[in-house]
């Protein structure tokens, strides 16, 4: 085990962001985008069930905020990245890039 300043970048990886779907979801939300559930499902080319599970995990981690509302009497759900989620994503991406060797 090395000292803290020489830790392998893999230690900085965030378990909540380690699946491709959850990582892509956070990448899609970025820093200042709010997207509704259906559009997100289309963008990420996934299904309702997988997306719901990914959102539940990220929401539990405090990385996404879910806003529910109605449009023309139909329920609609919007998602956005929280400040904590954005910070976690930055650290995670930096760790991945370090592993890739960029």
């Amino acid at each position: 085990m090395t000292d803290g300043s020489q830790r392998h970048p893999r230690h900085e990886l965030d378990p909540a962001l380690l699946t491709p779907l959850r990582f892509s979801l956070m990448a899609a939300l970025g820093t200042d985008i709010e997207i509704d559930f259906a559009t997100l499902r289309h963008l990420l080319e996934t299904d309702d069930s997988a997306l719901s599970k990914a959102i539940a995990t990220l929401s539990t981690a405090g990385y996404v905020r879910v806003r529910k509302g109605y449009v023309a009497n139909r329920p609609r759900t919007w998602l956005r990245a929280t400040t904590a989620g954005q910070a976690a994503m930055r650290i995670h991406v930096a760790a991945l890039r370090a592993i890739v060797g960029e």
Binding site: S24, A28, I33, V71, R76, V93
Partner: protein
């Protein structure tokens, strides 16, 4: 994450995670309707400037007692200004909802609120009957609108080429009815403002607005209406808005404060939205 996972994540695996993430971010950005968002920002900025400058014009040079006096004071006419502005905020929520993908501006609200401080200061100066240059009212009204215009300009720069015009289709029935009712509501507000008992009628109009706000989540609500509207309805709303503000200023600041002017003015206020509802075309 387990140690096994960590050990398995080599450079190639990390690259396989990064690439789809970057693609997802780019795809999400490409779905943002920058043109609509820019128009929305410009609309909010313009209406805020009109509302704030008209408000200061109405309450400026009023004696302190007028704040709690009857219908002849500029303060009571401020209800006439407040109603269309509150309606607009609800309609804009509908446009946001229709957009599905939104750019959020975390600092914009904070900057706009700070820019509203001079408005509060000038409002207090008015209550204290302090005198100042009339042009300051315009500067104070422009202050909170400026960051919104700046944001709108930034969004407009990112907008893609204008799409070809889609053939118009009919508005749905609830939207047509509510558009017409909104026009009549604005017209009635303008008409009643000319009468001496407007202070009481204003309470009734505000209660009607509360009832409208209570419908917000239904298809009869204002956000739903805003999401259904297209250019003809928005143009009708803008015209009614400007006419109503103008009528309030005429009634409050000129000698034409007569029921006849109020009634005729109210009809003019109602017509643009009623016509838009009757035509009912949307693109």
């Amino acid at each position: 994450m387990s140690s096994t996972d960590e050990d398995d994540l080599d450079a190639a695996s990390a690259a396989r995670l990064l690439d789809p993430g970057a693609a997802a971010g780019a795809r999400a950005d490409s779905t943002v309707d920058y043109r609509t968002l820019a128009r929305m920002q410009f609309g909010i900025a313009g209406s805020m400037f009109v509302y704030l400058s008209a408000f200061l014009l109405l309450v400026g040079d009023q004696p302190q007692s007028a704040a709690s006096a009857g219908s002849t004071s500029g303060f009571s006419y401020s209800i006439v200004l407040l109603i269309p502005f509150l309606v607009l905020t609800q309609l804009v929520m509908g446009v946001s909802a229709r957009s599905r993908v939104l750019r959020t501006h975390r600092h914009l609200l904070r900057i706009t609120l700070v820019a509203l401080v001079p408005f509060g200061v000038v409002g207090v100066l008015n209550l204290m009957e302090a005198s100042y240059l009339w042009g300051i009212n315009l500067l104070v009204a422009a202050a909170p609108a400026t960051p919104l215009v700046w944001q709108g300009w930034k969004l407009a720069r990112r907008a893609g080429p204008k799409l070809p015009r889609v053939p118009p289709t009919l508005l749905n029935r609830p939207a047509r009815i509510m558009t017409g009712c909104l026009g009549l509501y604005f017209g009635l507000t303008g008409m009643l403002a000319a009468f001496s008992w407007f202070a009481f009628a204003g309470l009734g109009l505000m209660l009607a607005l509360v009832a409208l706000l209570a419908l917000a989540s239904s298809r009869w609500g204002l956000p739903s209406l805003g999401s259904d509207w297209s250019s003809p309805e928005w143009n009708g709303f803008a015209t009614s808005f400007i006419l109503l503000v103008t009528l309030a200023i005429v009634l409050a600041r000129t000698d034409w404060n007569t029921p006849l002017v109020g009634i005729v003015g109210g009809i003019f206020v109602a017509v643009p939205l009623v016509v838009a509802a009757v035509r009912g075309a949307r693109s």
